[in-house]
């Protein structure tokens, strides 16, 4: 199989952009989190594709770490979303604006 590396980069960039789009448009905290996960996975796609391309395993191993960290991040994020809901009765990220300027 000989898919040029550019395609993977394009794929990952598309994923990244989709994630970014989600972050910019979604107000729901969970969707926000999911969008971030998409971006992280875009990076993982890159890492794995380039690991294949360069013929070393560094990228793949790093992708594993990235996944672990993303999971940890989500765990924290969910906790924060939980206390957010408790305090603001909503998971809309645009609601908490007590501090500004």
């Amino acid at each position: 199989m000989d898919v040029p590396i550019e395609y993977f980069v394009l794929l990952s960039m598309a994923l990244f952009s989709i994630g970014l789009f989600g972050i910019l448009t979604r107000r729901n905290a969970l969707l926000f989190l999911m969008s971030v996960e998409i971006m992280v996975n875009a990076a993982n796609v890159n890492l794995i594709a380039f690991a294949f391309y360069h013929g070393n395993l560094t990228g793949q191993v790093f992708a594993l770490f990235a996944m672990a960290l993303a999971a940890a991040e989500v765990a924290i994020g969910l906790g924060i979303v939980l206390v957010l809901y408790r305090n603001f009765r909503d998971v809309d990220v645009t609601v908490p604006t007590t501090m500004r300027w």
């Binding site: 989190l33 990076a43 380039f50 991040e73 924290i76 924060i80 206390v83 305090n87 908490p96 501090m99």
Partner: protein
């Protein structure tokens, strides 16, 4: 000294001490769930931080990181170059551990009524571990892991006051921007990896010329890395979390984040950009000098931070913006790098971060004290505090004037050296003159709002009647120690400057 006989991995001892302390706290809490034994918890934390400090200082004295040619033990490389322990590592580990110790001591009083005691302290220790690891990270893998290790506990720490809307809001914003930034950072890493095929910093530098075909890709990757560092150091345009996070977080955590976390962010930025992307070689590949980006960021960051700070009413938020401004000053260290050196500028930036670590921690701890007293948040609320708490307010005066850069305090010397070195660097990079001008203008502006606080505390009359103020021993001790360190930084400035310059020189190689 005995360092020689130790196994290699012990070079990471400061970080290991931190993590061991965190685990010890978990064990303590497991033995006696939900323990409220503050002395034990805060004490363990402080002892752990001081132990890490002791080890670091011992390493420094023993000559770890000092080039062997000068009689030192040389730079220690670990795990195939994934970690490196050199002078810069030790320099910044010192900052992190001192700030951690101060924060732990101050939290003894500040968090007295809090439910989650052991969690709080162990999260601090884990974050400190991350920061110490950041100082030693020498590969984009370890950089990212360490960065996340520092960030994740920080999110939780900011939001730890679960019933306080401000704290939760701050945590949410910090987390969301942090998650976005780390995603961008990770993507940047993947692009750099794609362009060079390596994640270890020296290996990246060695393979830069092989990345000719991917100049744009590498450039975008580097830019995304800059984004990640900008987030960690609260620099424009990734600074948006900072004002809210610092304002909403418990004040000792604000101190911790704005001092230690920022310093750690800078150390990896310094290391990545000096080791992995040497200016000349990188410019050849990506077609542009990346210092340009830092010149722009430094100017914009310091200007935005100071300008926004000038009109704040809320003391904590003012300090938050001023912290952004100081990030701008420290960014000069990267902006001033050039093909034929720049270690002087970077050393000056490191000095500034060192001194800033104390004075800014102290300032935030004073806010912690004010919150402990419950006097309110605005400048007016602080009016006339000096009559009731002269010692703490004298310390505040020291912090403010040092932050503003008034002689003869430590902040003046670091800023002064930064300024002269910036001017010196203008020989190779004309834009540095603009940076120097911005530095001066912003310092002048900063004096306005710093002195405003001093004036409020010392000169103004209190607005209303105030009850007698308690004198929490932990907070007072931390503030006084921070003030003493700020003042002591003056006679000690020679050694600090030497250490910073040497560390920068070794890092740039």
């Amino acid at each position: 000294m005995a360092v020689l006989e130790l196994p290699q991995w012990t070079a990471l001892a400061p970080a290991l001490v931190f993590v061991a302390t965190a685990l010890a706290l978990f064990v303590i809490d497991s033995i006696n769930p939900h323990t409220r034994n503050r002395s034990l918890l805060a004490g363990t934390t402080a002892v752990g931080a001081l132990a890490a400090l002791g080890v670091t200082v011992w390493f420094m004295l023993a000559g770890v990181g000092t080039p062997t040619a000068e009689g030192g033990l040389g730079v220690v490389e670990l795990f195939g170059g994934q970690f490196v322990v050199d002078q810069m590592t030790l320099f910044f580990t010192t900052v992190v551990s001192i700030v951690t110790a101060l924060v732990a001591v101050a939290s003894y009083d500040y968090m007295a009524d809090h439910t989650y005691q052991s969690e709080y302290y162990s999260l601090i220790m884990l974050a400190a571990t991350g920061m110490a690891a950041m100082a030693a990270a020498n590969s984009l893998v370890t950089v990212f892991i360490a960065l996340e290790l520092a960030s994740l506990p920080s999110y939780a720490l900011v939001a730890i006051l679960k019933d306080n809307r401000g704290s939760v809001e701050a945590g949410l914003k910090y987390f969301l921007i942090g998650a976005l930034s780390s995603a961008i950072f990770l993507y940047g890493i993947s692009l750099v990896y794609g362009a060079t095929g390596h994640l270890q910093l020296e290996a990246i530098a060695d393979n830069l010329d092989g990345a000719d075909a991917y100049g744009g890709l590498l450039g975008l990757g580097i830019l995304m890395l800059i984004g990640g560092f900008a987030y960690k150091t609260a620099s424009v345009p990734f600074h948006f979390w900072a004002p809210e996070a610092y304002e909403g977080a418990p004040a000792p955590i604000s101190a911790f984040l704005s001092s230690a976390s920022k310093a750690a962010g800078f150390v990896i930025a310094f290391r990545v950009f000096t080791t992995a992307f040497p200016v000349e070689a990188t410019t050849a590949v990506i077609g542009i000098d990346w210092t340009t980006a830092f010149v722009v960021l430094a100017i914009v960051t310091m200007t935005l931070g100071n300008f926004a700070a000038a009109t704040q009413d809320n003391v904590k938020r003012m300090l938050a913006y001023s912290s952004i401004g100081h990030a701008g000053y420290a960014l000069i260290g990267l902006a001033g790098l050039s093909a034929d050196g720049g270690e002087l500028v970077m050393g000056a930036a490191m000095m500034h971060l060192f001194v800033y670590g104390f004075m800014n921690t102290g300032a935030f701890l004073f806010v912690a004290l004010a919150e402990y007293w419950g006097v309110g948040r605005t400048f007016e609320d602080y009016n006339g505090l000096a009559r009731q708490a002269p010692v703490a307010c004298a310390a505040l005066g020291i912090f403010m004037f040092s932050l503003a850069g008034i002689p003869p305090l430590g902040g003046f010397w670091s800023k002064y050296i930064l300024f002269t070195e910036t001017i010196g660097a203008a020989g190779t990079n004309g834009a540095m003159l603009v940076v120097a001008a911005a530095l001066v203008v912003n310092s002048a502006l900063s004096l306005y709002y710093y002195s405003r606080l001093v004036k409020a505390v010392w000169i103004e009359d209190p607005i209303g009647e105030r009850d007698a103020l308690a004198q929490p021993i932990g907070l007072y001790a931390a503030i006084v120690v921070a003030a003493v360190l700020t003042v002591v930084a003056l006679p000690a400035f020679g050694p600090i400057a030497d250490a910073a310059q040497q560390a920068a020189a070794v890092a740039i190689g």
